[in-house]
């Protein structure tokens, strides 16, 4: 058994010992184990649902090698992905679905990316990132020499109507920085100023209290309570505003839920639907609505479009731009370079828990950002 496992893992370029606990592996490696499990069953048809979502480029390459091997053995693969770049690389035919309906199918060699996007969203994406220009307002947040368990000496500021992108490699400390500012991780040194006033807070509760809202990168892990309903998740952070001494005002709660379901076009049969059953995009919209219901001055979005389809992405970009127009300060953490470049007014680059780059968007190039992200001095 161990030998077989060893062989399969080697096929996927996983070098860890087969006896190690899956929980001790990185997310990418766990994904590889799952793929190995599917292959081990010797099936003729393998369905892969977003297999590369958590994989690095290297891991993706070895996965593709395995897929090509399987195909040459006469096996078939259904490959579900929202990463359009992968499709011409690995697929022969493509089927496009939208809102649970079949839209079209085609041979990959006959089509291009625009065709896929057009059919996925039902209209042509004239511009995926329509940049909104707003007059920047007063300072919302200023961080001075902030240090904590996971961050070192961070200083930056953000103004009303500004979108600050945070770029960096996975594990560079972007999420940790966001969570440290929010109060989830302890701040050991440095100061945080909200609207010019120095504030001390060391819990998410107090973070919300001073006007910061954080939308997690990990919806299933710490973003949502999957067993609760759409409504219960959406109002979780803002329940005090729906309750009095006599308990919850369920009418008011329902109305607030309805407002956001309509505004964000969240697809759910009822407000009492268990959120686990919603698609990733709709879950994400609920998570953002949850944050917005607290009326934050500063919104931190951690990987806001991870694992959601192109149509929902576009809708979330629209929401972000709308908030920007209203003068909210927004921090966006994203691993997708086009997203950071397309939305932000300014980009911070994090490498090994410190800031290695801070560019206005006019000066930022992918190459510059990448150099800072991997810690190469300019």
């Amino acid at each position: 058994m161990h030998k077989d496992a060893r062989k399969l893992l080697a096929l996927l370029n996983v070098t860890e010992c087969e006896k190690i606990l899956v929980s001790d592996l990185t997310i990418g490696k766990r994904q590889m184990v799952e793929i190995a499990k599917a292959i081990s069953q010797n099936a003729n048809l393998i369905v892969m649902d977003e297999p590369t979502d958590a994989l690095t480029d290297n891991e993706t390459a070895s996965l593709f090698k395995v897929i090509r091997g399987l195909i040459s053995e006469g096996k078939s693969i259904i490959y579900i992905s929202h990463r359009l770049k992968e499709i011409p690389e690995i697929c022969n035919d493509v089927t496009i679905m939208r809102d649970g309906k079949f839209i079209t199918e085609a041979e990959v060699k006959d089509i291009d990316e625009d065709f896929i996007i057009k059919n996925m969203v039902g209209r042509t994406l004239s511009e995926q990132f329509p940049r909104v220009k707003v007059q920047l307002g007063e300072e919302v947040l200023r961080v001075e020499n902030l240090s904590g368990e996971h961050v070192k000496n961070i200083s930056f500021n953000i103004r009303k109507g500004e979108i600050l992108g945070i770029a960096g490699l996975m594990g560079a400390g972007r999420t940790e920085l966001a969570k440290t500012i929010y109060g989830y991780y302890k701040k050991t040194a440095g100061n945080v100023y909200i609207e010019g006033k120095k504030r001390k807070f060391n819990s998410p509760e107090d973070g919300l209290g001073v006007g910061i809202a954080y939308v997690s990168e990990d919806r299933k892990g710490d973003g949502l309570v999957l067993g609760l309903s759409v409504k219960e998740n959406m109002t979780l952070s803002s329940l005090p505003s729906f309750s009095s001494w006599f308990g919850l005002n369920k009418k008011k709660e329902k109305k607030a839920t309805k407002d956001f379901v309509d505004k964000f076009r969240i697809k759910t049969p009822t407000y009492d639907q268990i959120i686990k059953k919603l698609s990733g995009g709709n879950q994400q919209k609920v998570a953002i609505a949850k944050a917005l219901l607290t009326n934050p001055k500063l919104l931190i979005l951690d990987e806001p479009t991870r694992g959601i389809d192109v149509g929902a992405k576009k809708e979330i970009y629209d929401v972000i731009n709308e908030l920007k127009r209203k003068g909210m300060g927004i921090i966006i953490i994203s691993s997708e370079m086009p997203e950071v470049m397309g939305l932000s007014d300014r980009i911070l680059v994090i490498h090994e828990n410190s800031i290695t780059g801070n560019f206005p968007i006019e000066e930022a190039t992918q190459e510059k950002i990448m150099r800072c992200a991997i810690g190469v001095n300019q």
């Binding site: 309570v225 999957l226 952070s237």
Partner: protein, 254 residues
């Protein structure tokens, strides 16, 4: 409705069991007997109400039986040394809250396993009760009407503990389904990290849940003591399992 009923297997089992028993002995279905069964259940029901909330947060409380015994003895002692029964009742509930809070604080703030923490409390308080009572029952001599009726009295021919149980059930239902606190209880049980990241002080609410559990165990202790007319050092032995079973049979999953 029928479908919902059908999905509740334990309830069906109970109905079938009741039918069989009443065929064997028709007196089972008499009002007197059923009231007696309900009165005996009421002590467990009071404890189980607190246990439901604790289990909903993903925890467990093994110390309920020992808290019952200790607080029962404490209450009997207070009355024996001449404290008036109403004050004694209040002080006893406070003692229950203190034990529950201690459980909750160790679990939430020291991040210890609920099973271990409450197991320690269980053993500790059982021993403390034996030392405190010297292993002998403490009789209630000057309970007065108010105290004696709590466990043994009737109102409209229905035992008082049944009223206490029903009032508690309604209150717990309201708290769990119509208040912020209840929502947080479910959220913590569903995903504690997500709840904390949503800006909720989960440690505080978990501690409150255990404090309520402790208070209800103390209330059960008072009812038992009042009903028996004395505090038994071994009262409540094994009650934690009865309460947990009641919670699970009631549809809350462990």
């Amino acid at each position: 409705m029928i479908k919902k009923l059908w999905s509740n297997k334990p309830l069906i089992g109970l109905i079938v069991f009741a039918i069989i028993v009443s065929i064997i002995n028709p007196r089972f279905l008499s009002v007197g007997n059923l009231l007696n069964v309900l009165r005996q259940t009421s002590v467990n029901a009071v404890i189980a109400t607190g246990m439901t909330m604790i289990i909903l947060t993903g925890g467990i409380d093994l110390s309920v039986g020992s808290i019952l015994a200790f607080t029962g003895a404490f209450c009997a002692y207070m009355i024996a040394i001449g404290v008036n029964p109403e004050t004694a009742l209040l002080l006893t509930l406070i003692v229950g809250v203190i034990f529950g809070t201690a459980n909750g604080a160790f679990i939430s703030y020291c991040k210890l396993q609920p099973f271990i923490v409450t197991l320690v409390t269980m053993t500790l308080l059982r021993g403390a009760t034996l030392v405190f009572t010297d292993g002998k029952p403490i009789p209630i001599k000057a309970g007065g009407d108010f105290f004696d009726n709590l466990g043994g009295g009737y109102f409209l021919q229905i035992p008082i503990p049944i009223y206490i149980m029903i009032i508690l059930f309604i209150t717990a239902y309201y708290v769990l389904n119509h208040t912020r606190f209840g929502r947080y209880v479910y959220a913590i049980g569903g995903n504690e990290e997500a709840t904390r990241l949503s800006g909720i002080n989960t440690s505080k609410y978990k501690t409150i849940v255990y404090a309520v559990g402790g208070m209800l165990s103390a209330l059960a202790g008072v009812i038992v003591t009042s009903r028996l007319g004395s505090a038994q050092p071994t009262a409540g032995t094994g009650y934690e399992l009865d309460a947990i079973a009641a919670v699970v049979l009631g549809g809350t999953s462990l």
